[in-house]
Symmetry: C2
Subunit: 193 residues, 2 copies
Amino acid sequence: MPKSVDRPEQRRRIGAALLRLAAERGLDQVSVRTVAVASGRSAGAVQKYFRTKEDMLVFAAELAGERVEERMALVDTGLPLRRALRELVLTTLPLDEERRAEAAAQLAFAAQAAHHPRLAAIRRQVDRDVRDALTQWLQAAGCPGPQATADAVIALSDGLALRMLYTPAEHPSLLQALDRALDALTPHEPPAA
Amino acid sequence: MPKSVDRPEQRRRIGAALLRLAAERGLDQVSVRTVAVASGRSAGAVQKYFRTKEDMLVFAAELAGERVEERMALVDTGLPLRRALRELVLTTLPLDEERRAEAAAQLAFAAQAAHHPRLAAIRRQVDRDVRDALTQWLQAAGCPGPQATADAVIALSDGLALRMLYTPAEHPSLLQALDRALDALTPHEPPAA
């Protein structure tokens, strides 16, 4: 581990190793020891950056939340609404290795949040940020019930990602379900010229 | 533990204790030892019914799958489609203690299925059964794209339940999202007389 890398960057690297481990093996396999191995450090070196497993988990959940918002920022909001929503949901679905890792970590944290107040608070903040941004898109496009529609799209996206993680053979039919729901939820737009 | 209770019933009681534990504290807290305590047995007594933690988990996942199908059978399919779908989804949402426990266990298994082939196979079978039944309801009601709509309703239901588990304050607005999505996904029906 190069000494020249500063403390915030070291913490991010350890957090990223935790997210990889959660994605590959599940959150129940995460401990100071396993994260140390996954990040090429000793347990003692990890504990210089995170006092407890709990602190490390919370930091990784925040990192995962930032990634959601970064992905969201990549979607071109100049696209017609239906296409922009589809692009956004596709960034969250486990359709390749990178997105699979991302979705597995996100959903493991979401399921754990039911029993973990600090993780729940982070998830709630991320959900609110995504909902507010989506509500604005929907409102600008004249979609009825923009906030309820935003929450429906978030639920649809989480539910599809959850099922796709253990049902790779159904990816094509689950993408049809996404299209069916987006068709129903968005106002009809004239075909692109 | 009464000796008169037969082996299948003993297994069901242990499985039910595992589901309660998963709901209250998360799947990562499940072990032969903790399930033994939760079911008022010794670890040795639990191991007379399940050789390994893995066998016990798989049995509990099957039990959880049966409960989904039992709940589904309680919905009056003579109701208009929109109402029947709403009733069905409401049985899966954590809106009281009983459904909270049920949803927490179901979603913990779903998240774990991403890393666990035997749990994944059970979840896939339950999803297929629910989808097939829903597709029939939708088809009978003349809903366009019945299978894709069924998958969208399942995803919506899972996604809403996941978020409701860590966001109790948002239950009312998430129920609005459910209504918004069901309005969009179902053909318009004449108002009830």
